[in-house]
């Protein structure tokens, strides 16, 4: 008895370290292929496909598939076909760095990288930039507002602006005054908190409580009890995975009803919708939830082309059509198309040659022909014209740091999980809130 106890006891010191090791473990997958005459080109999706933010990666993969389909059906880029490959970061910088290093080391045919969320952008952007691969990132971190990375592109505004839009819609449209902030403790979600607090306080609203909650916990009842005691009018939230679902179900249980809650653009997502409706019911989501999303019209020839190819991509990824109204999916699709057309315009598959041209394709140069499909772009370039891409997400306005942004829309869900626009915040309104918030 004693012997057994000692034998086991001496070994237990390993357990905590091993548990932490388990939590930190991750990986990616890659297969090598070289580039040559008409050799295939690769688009890397560097994003979380496992871990708490596993819902993000599929949205970006869903951007790549219709882009590759549109390009390949038009004959490829100067004859080079395009394919998509996932590189899983698990949403952790520690896993993202080896995944990105492995990607650039194993694939000489990378034409672009998409994804790079706030979870990993800071750690992978230097690697991708150093490898001279154009990247289109879905990070909202303010450190990229004036970045020195020349291969970095961002077609979405910084998270701070998302926060300002959230504050603007809560105060101006819904006239809420007392706001509880409930955000996940991950890097991406926390990027919203500071700007939201600044804007709320400067605009005369009250932050009743600011909760940074650990993702993936089995229960948040203590946190919910503390939050309810502050009597907010509305909850601002972004806590991905099952976290928001668990938290909001416990709000409903402990409060007797669901409080109004508003989400960032990341909550306009089929995975989030399914989780939260499963926990609190569809009716509560329809009646109590609103969000801000990027100002996308979901119409026009560029969107139609995207939608057609997205639906066809269901053969490769069954969930692809569910991302038809996910702003991030549309914008990353546009980024890939801009890179492809930049390659056609420069007649080069060398990123150092076509990377500077991406901004021209996005913003347009004097006399450029507007194109909404890759095929039309190739035709126009073939006839000696410059092109400007107006795709699924609408026009692009790159600044000197390759950041582009548009206005915001206020949205809710319908019963099938589709986004419904209920109002619009113009760029001017957003700018006014940003100024008031000290942004």
């Amino acid at each position: 008895m004693q012997a057994g106890g000692h034998r086991l006891g001496r070994r237990v010191g390993l357990l905590p370290l091993l548990a932490l090791g388990l939590a930190a473990c991750g990986g990616g997958s890659a297969t090598g292929s070289g580039s040559g005459n008409n050799s295939p080109l690769l688009i890397g999706i560097v994003a979380p496909f496992t871990g708490p933010d596993a819902a993000l990666g599929p949205a970006y993969f869903a951007a790549c598939l219709p882009a590759a389909r549109a390009i390949n059906s038009a004959g490829g880029i100067m004859g080079h076909t395009v394919s998509c490959q996932q590189f899983d970061t698990r949403g952790e910088p520690a896993d993202a760095v080896p995944a990105a290093q492995q990607m650039v080391a194993s694939h000489s045919n990378l034409m672009a990288v998409v994804g790079c969320t706030s979870d990993e952008a800071s750690s992978v952007a230097p690697i991708i930039d150093h490898a001279h691969i154009p990247m289109f990132c879905m990070t909202g971190q303010s450190e990229f507002n004036k970045t020195s990375f020349t291969y970095f592109h961002r077609l979405v505004p910084p998270d701070a602006f998302d926060s300002y839009a959230l504050v603007g819609s809560a105060l101006d449209y819904f006239h809420y005054k007392n706001v509880a902030l409930v955000f996940g403790n991950d890097i991406g979600s926390q990027a919203f908190v500071g700007p939201a607090m600044n804007a709320l306080q400067h605009l005369g609203a009250t932050v009743t409580i600011n909760q940074s909650i650990a993702l993936g916990q089995p229960s948040y009842r203590t946190e919910v009890t503390a939050m309810l005691a502050t009597h907010p009018d509305v909850i601002f939230t972004e806590a991905l995975g099952p976290t928001d679902a668990t938290y909001l179900a416990e709000v409903k249980q402990l409060n007797g009803s669901t409080l109004p809650f508003m989400g960032t653009s990341a909550t306009i997502d089929p995975v989030w919708f399914k989780a939260v409706t499963g926990a609190i019911g569809v009716q509560d989501v329809l009646n109590k939830f609103t969000a801000v999303d990027l100002g996308v019209s979901f119409s026009g020839p560029g969107y139609t082309e995207f939608k057609t190819n997205l639906d066809a991509s269901a053969a490769q990824f069954a969930d692809a059509p569910k991302y038809a109204e996910r702003g991030a999916t549309l914008h990353l699709y546009d980024g890939i198309m801009q890179a492809a057309l930049a390659m056609d315009e420069t007649q080069s598959i060398d990123p150092t040659v076509y990377n500077p041209k991406i901004k021209d394709v996005g913003n347009g140069v004097s006399g450029a022909t507007t194109v909404n499909t890759y095929k039309d772009g190739v035709t126009a370039i073939g006839s000696g014209k410059s092109v400007v891409w107006v795709g699924a997400g609408g026009p692009t306005h790159y600044d000197q740091y390759n950041n582009s942004q548009q206005g915001y829309i206020i949205v809710k869900y319908d019963s099938t999980g589709n986004e419904v626009t209920i109002s619009k915040l113009t760029e001017q309104q957003t700018a006014a809130i940003i100024a008031a918030g000290g942004g």
């Binding site: 057994g4 006891g9 357990l15 905590p16 388990l22 939590a23 596993a54 909650i213 993702l215 229960s219």
Partner: protein, 294 residues
């Protein structure tokens, strides 16, 4: 103060779930000498097995039994096909831990394409809410606490009052001597994997019932407080795991109320580190139920 009292109430629920899981984990360790880091993934797999049935309209308590059976069979198969062959070859403890870590990642990544990255919720009625001062618990939560108490009593009875329990204790203390004394240690170890696997399955399912929503990613999150409770109480000692679960369950909830919600797991490990400094063998290591039969 009312928040602290309420947090204590919620801590009772957390403690109950951790206790079921930690007792299974620590018995696995104590009897089979296997630190099974895939335990959290078996928990979440069992939760999904119960969900598959519950989602077709089957009552959650029936689904819980299926979750327990799934956990038992999965754990048994895991040992027979993966762990036992390596142990027979003489793989040392560290090697076995690494193998279980690999199994954990394999299970998580195999589960993902099967169940998807969507979070799911059981169809379960939480029942009426009962109040005692600032403590408010639903009928479902009280049922989970009662289930945990019942299982702890069953484990106590198994270890102290049955021949199997005696054989388990003998196998844990010295498997070679136990075998020479005529105890069929292979069969005892098989039964240990089935019993601890069932506890793992029950824990995964009740964790899903309590949390309203769960996903594959919860598997690794489950493991952290379980290991903390098991080590805190004295690894290999079921009673220690029960005490460890009480401390970890209540401390994490109280820390969320008093300090910050984001440090819940940090607090669990801070308590663990403190105890390991003061009492490296854990709280009850020298008086364990898995001590040699007397």
């Amino acid at each position: 103060m009312s928040l602290i009292i309420a947090a204590f109430g919620f801590g009772l629920v957390s403690m109950s779930i951790i206790a079921i899981a930690a007792v299974g984990f620590t018995m696995q360790f104590g009897i089979t000498n296997m630190i099974n880091l895939a335990y959290g993934q078996v928990m979440i797999s069992s939760a999904y097995a119960a969900y598959a049935l519950n989602n077709t309209g089957v009552n959650i308590w029936v689904a819980l039994i299926v979750g327990a059976i799934f956990g038992a069979v999965f754990s048994f198969v895991l040992n027979r096909l993966v762990y036992a062959p390596f142990q027979r070859k003489g793989t040392n403890l560290i090697g076995m831990v690494i193998i279980s870590l690999a199994v954990s990642l394999l299970v998580a990544n195999l589960l993902l394409p099967i169940v998807g990255y969507y979070s799911v919720s059981y169809h379960v009625d939480p029942g009426p809410t009962f109040h005692a001062g600032s403590i408010a618990l639903t009928g479902l939560q009280l049922a989970i606490i009662a289930l945990a108490v019942a299982l702890m009593l069953v484990i106590h009875a198994l270890l102290k009052l049955t021949r199997l329990g005696k054989a388990m204790r003998a196998t844990a203390a010295n498997p070679t001597l136990a075998r020479n004394c005529g105890i069929p240690t292979s069969r005892v170890i098989d039964l240990a994997w089935l019993i601890t696997g069932a506890l793992c399955g029950v824990a995964g399912t009740v964790a899903g019932m309590n949390s309203d929503s769960f996903a594959v990613s919860n598997g690794s999150e489950f493991l952290i407080p379980i290991i903390a409770a098991a080590v805190l109480g004295g690894a290999g000692n079921p009673y220690g795991a029960m005490i460890g679960a009480v401390i970890i369950g209540v401390m994490t909830e109280l820390s969320a109320a008093v300090i910050s919600p984001q440090y819940k797991q940090v607090i669990a490990f801070a308590v663990l580190v403190l105890v390991m400094i003061l009492r490296p063998q854990g709280l009850l290591a020298k008086r364990g139920a898995l001590a040699a039969a007397g």
